[in-house]
Amino acid sequence: MTWPASIQEIIEEFQEIEDQFERLEVLMDFSSEVDELPVEDWNESNLVRGCQSIAHIEVEIRDETVWMKAAADAKMVQGLQGILSIAVNGSPPQSVLELTPAFAEEAGILVSLTPSRSNGFRTMFDMVQNRVKEAIK
């Protein structure tokens, strides 16, 4: 599978890391990549369901490109949101819909994409795609 350049770069960055602790540190660094959804905008409709920590995501289409704002109380979850932001922000809706979440596994960011082990990533990824679908309908 080939990935957009921005993701390919992330994959390579992660693949170079051997120690799991360091990998998580790098993951947390990505939390700053998120366009933060202010706490006052957190609501039921942008809540990520089935996530253990509190996480919110809002998706909009600006100038025919996708833009997500997000926030989470756990830093790693926000890190995953950051990576997701890099993958989708500024992309046309169609290419967002063509993405698959497998890169997170490939990069070793997550051991597995099953709901129980993806730390909410799978849920957040699906949520973003669903919101994009709704928005372009």
Partner: protein, 398 residues
Amino acid sequence: MGDFMKEDFPIFSREINGRPLVYLDNAATTQKPACVIDAMSEYYSSSNANVHRAVHTLAGEATEGYEECRKLLKSRYNCDFAVITSGTTEAINLAARAWGEYNLKAGDAVVLTEMEHHSDIVPWQMLAERIAVELRFVPVEEGKLDMDALEVALEGAKLVCVVHTSNVLGVRNPVEEIIAMSKKVGARVLIDAAQAVPHELIDFKELGADFLAFSAHKMCGPTGIGALLISEDAFSEMEPFMGGGDMIETVTLEGSTYQSNEHKFEAGTPRIAEGFGWAAALEWISGIDLESHHSRLLKIARGVSTQLSERGMTVYSTLNPQDAAVVSFTHPTIHPEDFARLLDAQGIAVRTGHHCAQPLMDKLGVNGTIRASFYLYNDDSDAEIFLAGIDRVLEAMT
């Protein structure tokens, strides 16, 4: 075929009273292939942890493995909701409590049959005591459900509970027809598939039932685990059965809210190792051609049945084309228990008694039968040894 397969099952290296084990008690429980036994040992030896809300690695692996069992159930049987229980019995009790108690009221009719296992009778009798539903039993005539009587019983029925395949006789009921008839009167349908899933692949959605209950231990899986498959409609009508553990969304002193998926019905630490074991059994069995084994085993059972009749036994099983390979019989004078112990002395395991189906025994006019039930690993040579064993018993006793 069966012989070749025996190599997968460690128990067949066991000798009983100096003879190789001939296991013909499969309707009670089946043996387990090494892959199932190993999956559980492996889990305990390298991934053991409690599931859900899991952050550490072991807990992630445990959750993933346990949920894999559910995933396999859903895909193999084509259904949207698979609640994991401790077995068929708990599955039916769950339906009676979580659905029955909230969707039936005094006077509502529940249709059962005389062929049911106690596990599909007693929960409904208990429900009838609590909320006074009316139980209507469809009679069995010559080993078959009386379909005309069913037609009559269905009038105004709210729920129909039928055993797919009888554990006593091996009779496979015309469940497709029964479900169609039941749906016509708007009744929900529960199928006791404990003896069905070991022998045929069921497509739950195509079948059209609302509940399908079965146990892992009768299909080469572990003890202590089973499932209730539930239709979307029925699922939406259910309230929790047991409380506690992870079935909740929130708990306050004032009250609790519940999860919306299957976890709502799985209170407490689930059967984790059992889930790993059952997943392995489901994978193993998916590599088996059940249909061809079914005809092979039915042929063996028919041969046995003919031989038993010729030797003066009364055989109750009809062994029609879709029936399971179960031969229930009695001897005019030899007590079933003596019979079974004399077979056991020769390494042959059969079951005797009422097989948890006393109403059917009453109908057959017996206290109990001797039951030889065949499964995947049984072969012609088992049947031969069994018949030779029978002959020795007859010789000694008559």
